[in-house]
């Protein structure tokens, strides 16, 4: 046996000890189609009242079909409490917006006799709208934190619950999410330069505050990892960037020289070619970035001794996106259960966990109680699940 072979052999041995378990997803289209149909029908029949139950059963179904060594994830929310929570939150936001109208009218009647200026009334209503918007944003971000915390604490695996943050840290989480929302808002203003940092920070937020039993998740990626990823994907955006730059320049020139109505920097044929090229390239760009970011994220996520690996491929994501887009359009949306099962299966089955022996070693912590009122912001939490591709 040569030295090289010996090294290879010992590597193999090490891999054997580090036996990894593939995540399995056992959901079936036919089965989910039935559940979806019953949920939709009962929601319609109850004029919307069944919605929390429908939502809980769907979530339970999907989490229950995620299997790691036979055991599935479990979701144990309380639909009655969720129902009340939705009602309270809906009423709260309705009241808030009508309070805004009332406030504007009241202030107008007070201010109008005092200050006779045309600009005062628009300013007043804009101010009230701004204040109401701030209150709403604050409330929504708070609900978002609570919703993540609630859903996390209601999810369990092997009879151990997950968790997100702690009661003491909830205001810190709120601050963090407000910062994240502001950053997201700034991404377009920064012409996308902030995007890698925001992507990193979202993931760090959602991973490092999460725990399984008493064991916290850890996220070891650095902002520079995401910056490098986005830089590598940048060439795919060149045609789109060229078009946007041309349009911006044309507008700028048109403003400078009033006589010229449509200055053409680039011949329109080239612009057309660029536009045609940029659509598939944008698809490739988003899928490549999505796959690579997921691989990076899972590689840098640890749970105690447990390591994760993700094997998504950009070309698979592109294929799925095209197939699913066409299926949804031609079935008028009826293919939704099929799409959702297939999408989830691909995403989950390419995630694996190692070493298998570490699965037994987690311990339970204190259970905390989180109000189901938070579930009111359910839609946002779902959007977030999609955003970070982190299904745990």
């Amino acid at each position: 046996m040569t030295r090289l072979e010996a090294v290879a052999r010992s590597d193999e041995d090490a891999q054997g000890k580090q036996e990894s378990i593939a995540v399995k997803f056992s959901g079936r289209t036919g089965e989910y189609f039935q559940i979806w149909l019953v949920n939709t029908a009962l929601t319609l029949a109850s004029l919307g009242l069944y919605m929390p139950w429908a939502r809980m059963r769907t979530r339970r179904y999907f989490l229950g079909q995620i299997r790691l060594q036979e055991s599935g994830l479990e979701y144990q929310a309380n639909p009655q409490a969720m129902f009340l929570g939705w009602g309270v939150i809906g009423a709260g936001f309705t009241l808030l917006s009508s309070f805004g109208d009332l406030l504007t009218t009241g202030l107008t009647s007070i201010v109008q006799p005092l200050i006779k200026a045309n600009w005062i009334l628009p300013l007043l209503s804009a101010g009230v709208v701004g204040v109401i918007l701030l209150i709403q944003l604050g409330a929504l971000s708070w609900l978002l934190v609570q919703s993540i915390r609630y859903n996390s604490s209601k999810t369990s695996f092997r009879n151990l619950r997950f968790g997100f943050g702690s009661v003491e840290a909830r205001f810190r989480l709120w601050k963090e999410i407000v910062i994240l929302l502001v950053l997201r808002f700034l991404v377009p203003i920064s012409l996308g330069l902030l995007q890698p940092y925001v992507a990193w920070r979202w993931r760090r937020f959602l991973i490092r505050h999460r725990r399984f039993g008493t064991t916290p998740f850890a996220f070891t990626a650095k902002p520079s990892d995401f910056r490098r990823l986005h830089l590598r994907a940048l060439p795919l955006l060149f045609p789109a960037i060229a078009i946007i730059a041309t349009l911006l320049l044309s507008v700028a020139l048109a403003i400078r020289t009033p006589g010229v109505t449509s200055p053409s920097l680039i011949p329109s044929e080239i612009l057309t070619v660029l536009a045609l090229a940029s659509i598939p390239l944008l698809l490739v760009w988003s899928c490549w970035l999505e796959a690579r970011a997921a691989i990076l994220t899972w590689r840098c996520t640890h749970l105690g001794e447990l390591r994760f690996a993700c094997a998504w491929r950009a070309r698979d994501l592109i294929r799925l996106r095209l197939q699913h887009g066409l299926a949804l359009v031609f079935s008028l949306g009826l293919a939704w259960p099929w799409v959702r099962i297939r999408e989830t299966r691909y995403r989950l089955q390419r995630i694996s966990v190692s070493p298998a022996t570490a699965l037994d070693g987690f311990l339970a912590g204190e259970q905390e109680r989180i109000s189901a009122l938070a579930e009111g912001s359910f839609a946002m939490d779902d959007a977030m699940d999609g955003l970070i591709d982190f299904s745990l």
């Binding site: 056992s26 959901g27 079936r28 089965e31 989910y32 039935q34 559940i35 149909l37 019953v38 939709t40 029908a41 009962l42 929601t43 319609l44 029949a45 109850s46 004029l47 919307g48 059963r57 339970r60 179904y61 229950g64 079909q65 060594q69 036979e70 055991s71 599935g72 479990e74 695996f157 092997r158 009879n159 151990l160 399984f212 039993g213 699965l359 037994d360 070693g361 987690f362 311990l363 339970a364």
Partner: protein, 332 residues
């Protein structure tokens, strides 16, 4: 003795312990595994079946959990528990085609009942609660906005106008103590020969219609519009429209094409039903005045000839087609 294999999780750690679950004769359940033997009364255990093909879960007192391989015999022990019936029914519906069909039929039935009976009943109740003065203000506001856009003042000679007014009085006389109708004559090129009823018993007749119709025919048209007024159709239509917006928005969200289409189709159906009711009312009035229904049919034909025959299916229209109206009216 029945034995069921499963995995036990104590809730303290993530360790999986293979166990067997053995229901005993004395309503106790035995749990046996490696270095583990627990016994609890059946009544203390909680049974749970997640949606889909998942193993059932047996909750042990004190926070333990067993994912158990059951063939249905273990589940039968928990069948009588409160809530088990409903859970079982949901599960059955979610796993059998008949269940899905049943749930869909239930949904279709409920929605139909709401649209056919619930919503109109609600609208009738709300309309009845709206005072006549408010209704009249509403109608005047609508008329004022119409006066800005398609309407111009009537150019009919005084005598002709008075003639139309007399016809309205004759219709009012058929129902003594009924609603006082207010006639408004307007000229409009955009609308052409037409008559409409606004909230607050306001009847609007265009000059073109007065010129087109004979006196007998005008009487029939006015009787039809008076029928709308008598049943407060314009107000009810408004209330139904708002209720429909609310109901469809609650389920499917606002401002989407599906909501628009649903509202349009259902609204048209309501409108056609109102037209039929007004037709019946018109024929009843003509009968009370000892007239034949013939002018009613002849003016419908004249109007159709003037507007050109449409081949659009009736569910897309606010008014039923002439043959349909005549058949229905003749039947009554």
């Amino acid at each position: 003795m029945d034995r069921f294999e499963g995995l036990y999780f104590d809730g303290q750690s993530s360790r999986a312990i293979p166990v067997v679950v053995i229901p005993l004769q004395n309503d106790q359940v035995l749990l046996r595994g490696h270095q583990l033997e627990l016994c609890q009364p059946l009544a203390q255990l909680r049974w749970e079946q997640p949606p889909g093909r998942s193993r059932p879960r047996l909750h042990w007192p004190g926070g333990g959990l067993i994912e158990v391989n059951d063939d249905g015999r273990l589940a039968a022990l928990f069948a009588g528990r409160p809530g088990a019936r409903l859970q079982g029914l949901l599960r059955w519906a979610e796993s059998h085609r008949a269940g899905a069909v049943g749930a869909s039929l239930l949904a279709i039935g409920t929605i139909t009942a709401v649209l056919v009976a619930g919503l109109p009943l609600l609208a009738a109740g709300v309309s009845a609660a709206i005072p006549a003065a408010v209704e009249r203000q509403l109608g005047e506001a609508v008329l004022a906005s119409l006066d800005k856009q398609p309407f111009a003042p009537s150019r009919l000679p005084r005598a002709k106008q008075q003639q139309v007014r007399n016809l309205v009085q004759r219709i009012e006389a058929t129902a003594p103590g009924g609603r006082r109708l207010r006639l408004e004559l307007r000229d409009s090129r955009a609308i052409g020969a037409n008559a409409l009823c606004l909230p607050g018993d306001i009847l609007v007749v265009t000059d073109a219609l007065v010129r087109l119709a004979s006196e007998e025919e005008l009487l029939a048209v006015l009787a039809h519009e008076a029928g709308h007024a008598r049943h407060r159709h314009p107000l009810q239509m408004m209330v139904r429209g708002h209720a429909l917006t609310l109901a469809t928005g609650m389920i499917g969200g606002h401002d989407n094409p599906i909501q628009g289409i649903t509202k349009g189709l259902v609204g048209n159906a309501y409108s056609r039903a109102f037209e039929h009711q007004a037709d019946r009312e018109a024929l009843a009035v003509l009968r009370r005045l000892n007239r034949t229904p013939a002018p009613f049919f002849s003016i419908l034909d004249k109007l159709e000839r003037q507007q050109g025959k449409t081949e659009v299916p009736s569910f897309l229209l606010t008014h039923p087609s002439n043959p349909e109206r005549q058949a229905r009216a003749a039947g009554s």
